[in-house]
């Protein structure tokens, strides 16, 4: 019982550290990846997306995703305008 408890306490420390470390790695890797891809492989239509003032980022990415799915990755959104 006592050795089980000791092992459980050790596992608490090791487990939480491992989870934090892996997710820290996710954050670091993600950041490095985004920076590298931004520098060497930026999407050509990024500038075209900029004028979409007032369009929420999450809506824009959702629409991009829909177009990508429907066109099997071949289509792109160049401009989004709100219809009054």
């Amino acid at each position: 019982m006592e050795s089980n408890l000791n092992n459980a306490v050790v596992l608490f420390g090791v487990g939480m550290l491992a989870v934090f470390f892996i997710l820290l790695l996710v954050v670091i890797l993600g950041n490095i990846l985004i920076r590298v891809i931004n520098k060497y492989f930026p999407e050509k239509n990024v500038r075209n997306e900029k004028p979409n003032v007032g369009i929420d980022e999450s809506i824009r990415s959702a629409l991009n995703e829909v177009v990508r799915k429907v066109t099997h990755g071949k289509g792109q959104i160049r401009n989004i305008e709100k219809i009054k």
Binding site: L11, L25, V27, N31, F41, E43, G73
Partner: protein, 401 residues
């Protein structure tokens, strides 16, 4: 009279007389079916599990899973011999569940249905997915104190990860004898996320904190890192992450590796569309049916109606609650030191249960501020919670398996 006696023996009545507790299990199956069908509590899994319980407890049906012992030597029989001697349910159980095949296949489907986009856009929020794993390890200690064997305690604690396939995979390796109750507890609490999260939030988060508007915070302190090619990032990310995790926590690879593979075939797009459809629909659905039915079939009166099951159900709830609270507390601590405030509901979604936890958090935020749409932010910690719970499972398996 002799014919009547034989007819009586042919029916199940005589066997029910010998084991009346099986009637209780049949009633439990009806209750689970009701919850799955009428109340829509995780019907995709609860209905097959409930039906598995039902057919396993029909006396004389021979559809219950037989525990492996030294007498029956079942683990050393061939698939054909198992089917012949113990029936098809045991053949399915020992070939699909005992081998640990189905949970990774389900993880592949989960990966194919997961979008890492919200997490990549809000990478810092991924940390709260780590904090929310505290319930797993807290309950591990509590379960040892309650007298559980440490392997069983690990399998019980993993319910706090709120991830059905992870809980099942861990239980298969650490405590297969507790698989039925652990699966039921894990999926029941996942289904009860819309009740449990508001309950914990009510006692731990102030109204002022609930009104923290994430978009306003983003405007005040904008994210400095804009993603200029999300599609390429999404394709490279699973490859890179999978490679690193394979080196650091290899025991989590069966789950994380399959999750990331499923995600990769989704993100590649049209070139792997057929694989994506197979992973997210055909294989996922087939695996779900067999997983549910076979786990249900492990739940007979002898294995389920005991004190251990009650403790698992109670321990699972505590693990779940502590995980939610852990995420909330982590956000509160972060807010003490940061100018950019984060809504504590983001922390509450650090346990897996994707995407239900995020939807529930979003609904609570909207109740307090109609403009506060936090779904995208909550999804970040929610998805990282899936990775976190799989890593936690990997650690438990490496140390205890």
């Amino acid at each position: 009279m002799e014919i009547l006696g034989k007819l009586y023996e042919m029916t199940s009545f005589s066997e029910i007389g010998q084991d009346p507790q099986s009637l209780l299990m049949i009633l439990l199956a009806f209750l689970l079916l009701y919850l799955g069908i009428a109340k829509r509590y995780e019907p995709l899994l609860l209905v097959p599990i409930a039906f598995g319980v039902l057919i396993a407890n029909f006396p004389g049906g021979g559809m219950n899973v037989v525990e492996a012992t030294t007498e029956n030597n079942i683990e050393h029989l061939t698939i054909l011999e198992i089917a012949k001697e113990h029936g098809i349910m045991n053949m399915l159980y020992y070939s699909l569940i005992k081998t640990g095949l189905l949970p990774p296949l389900i993880f592949m489907g989960v990966g194919a249905m997961t979008d890492f986009g919200p997490m990549l856009r809000n990478l810092k929020l991924a940390f709260f997915g780590a904090a929310a794993q505290i319930g797993i390890f807290t309950v591990l200690i509590s379960a040892v104190l309650l007298g559980f064997d440490i392997k069983q305690a690990g399998a019980l604690g993993i319910i706090g990860g709120a991830d059905g396939p992870t809980a099942i995979y861990t239980a298969i390796i650490l405590a297969p004898e507790l698989l039925g109750p652990i699966a039921i507890a894990a999926y029941s609490y996942m289904a009860l996320v819309p009740v449990i999260i508001p309950f914990i939030v009510k006692f731990s988060v102030s109204k002022k904190e609930l009104k923290i508007n994430m978009k306003e915070q983003d405007k005040l302190y904008p994210n400095q890192l804009e993603i200029k090619n999300l599609r390429v990032v999404k394709i490279v990310f699973p490859i890179l992450l999978g490679t690193f995790i394979a080196f650091l926590v290899p025991s989590s690879v069966p789950l994380i590796g399959m999750l990331l593979f499923g995600n990769l075939v989704k993100e590649i797009g049209s070139d792997t569309n057929r694989l994506f459809t197979a992973a997210s629909e055909t294989i996922m659905n087939t695996a779900t049916i067999f997983l549910g039915l076979t786990i249900g079939a492990t739940m007979t009166s002898g294995t389920f109606l005991n004190k251990t099951t009650l403790l698992i159900v109670l321990g699972g709830f505590i693990a779940f609650s502590i995980s939610i609270l852990g995420g909330i507390v982590a956000v509160k601590i972060f807010n003490l030191f940061s100018k950019k405030k984060i809504n504590p509901l983001i922390g509450a979604t650090g346990l897996s249960a994707v995407p239900m936890a995020s939807r529930v958090a979003n609904d609570i935020a909207l109740k307090h501020d109609k403009t506060n749409h936090i779904l995208q932010y909550a999804m970040s910690s929610n998805i990282s919670g899936v990775i976190g719970s799989a890593v936690a499972a990997g650690v438990l398996i490496s140390f205890l398996g």
